[in-house]
Amino acid sequence: MIKDITIGQYIYKDSVVHKLDPRTKILASMFFMFGIFLINNITEYIFVFLLTAITIYLSQIPVMKIIKGLKPIFPLMMLTVIMNMFFTQGAAIFHWAFINITREGIYLAGFMGIRIFFLIIFTSLLTLTTSPITLTNGIEGLLTPLKRFKVPSHEIAMMMSIALRFIPTLIDETDKIMKAQKARGADFESGNIIKRTKSLVPILIPLFISAFTRADELAMAMEARGYRGDEGRTRFKELKYRNIDRIILTIFAFVLVFLIIRKIAF
């Protein structure tokens, strides 16, 4: 029953967006996240829409797949829209008992909804077009300049890749443990919330024991193969900025700087 979750959202396609350097994609998503909070009129939202639409088109990711990713966040989005609509002060256009709907409230709710919508869609393109391992390499690449400040970028990336590699193994393990405990009469599905939460202890304990044994074995295997950090370590795939990466990053950075200056100055 646990097995049918997909590991990551990554969809393989042979597209321009997939081939971008992961560092470019991470930085661009971050710039986008900050930028979308600084834009404030319809024209700019149309630009955001075009940017998102073009990126989706170029990435060849089916639109339905992206819309599906919005589903879990939908209640939160509705809550935002409703809260903003009811609790914003301003010129009332509808009034009943303690409910006040104002013009300002509707504008704010609309903008908030659209903003979150684009934010989720654009950033989810990052995980849809980049495999977790490539993402890890990208993060390592971005952290490397911080080595001067004692940030262990190599170790972080190493631990992330090991963690990702063990996710499927440990999911199998959890599944087996659940079946084994069920066979012994454990009950995970009935009772109130407190009882159900408590019932997870018999899953977690064996999971810890087996996982930590694995960690021991892995550490020994690493030692045996002479792992000693990143000194002198070479990679099979080197990350390399191409011209397209430079162009995209420059444009995103320029737009963000422009938006920040406008926010501060006007």
Partner: protein, 172 residues
């Protein structure tokens, strides 16, 4: 076997495995964890079962790093990825640090940062990105965290003690 704890690879492997457990508990037991609606509270409460792993901080030196990393990786699956990565990871880091500092006090007090910092940071995130009232989301997260950390975490803590799970802070 545990003599070489100082060595780097042992630490790396443990951190990675703890992160991995955190991730699978977050994404897979999503099926088991559930949103509950509390009367009068405008926000549904979610239980993040993986937060019960916070008790591992009291046992292993590798747990703080493992939990923070796990929280970071788990957000690869979140639809609201970037902000979750920043706020969620920061919340976990503060929680873990708080628990680490309080680890020699009564277990009930030790675990409070796990409730407090996560509620604070998540409520802040929801306030900034969704304009949802800070107080209510804070309360909702705090209730969820309290349930997981105290109802699941504390039995877990005693069970781990009972089976003699290795504790790095006790010299054996």
């Amino acid at each position: 076997m545990d003599l070489n704890f100082k060595s780097n690879s042992k630490y790396l492997a443990e951190v990675a495995i703890i992160a991995s457990i955190y991730v699978i508990l977050t994404i897979s037991l999503g099926a088991l964890s559930f949103g509950i609606n509390v009367p009068f509270l405008p926000i549904p409460i979610q239980l993040r079962i993986s937060e019960a792993l916070l008790v591992l901080v009291l046992f292993r030196k590798s747990a703080p790093a493992g939990l923070v990393l796990g929280c970071f990786i788990a957000n690869f699956w979140s639809p609201f990825m970037m902000p979750d990565m920043i706020f969620g990871t920061l919340g976990s880091a503060l929680a873990v640090y708080g628990i680490y500092r309080l680890k020699n006090i009564n277990i009930f007090i030790t675990l409070t940062p796990g409730v407090f910092f996560n509620a604070l940071l998540v409520a802040l995130e929801l306030k900034i990105f969704f304009k949802i009232p800070f107080f209510w989301s804070g309360v909702a997260v705090a209730i969820g965290q309290t349930l997981v950390i105290y109802v699941l975490g504390i039995p877990l803590y005693y069970a781990l003690k009972r089976i003699g799970f290795k504790n790095d802070y006790e010299n054996v």
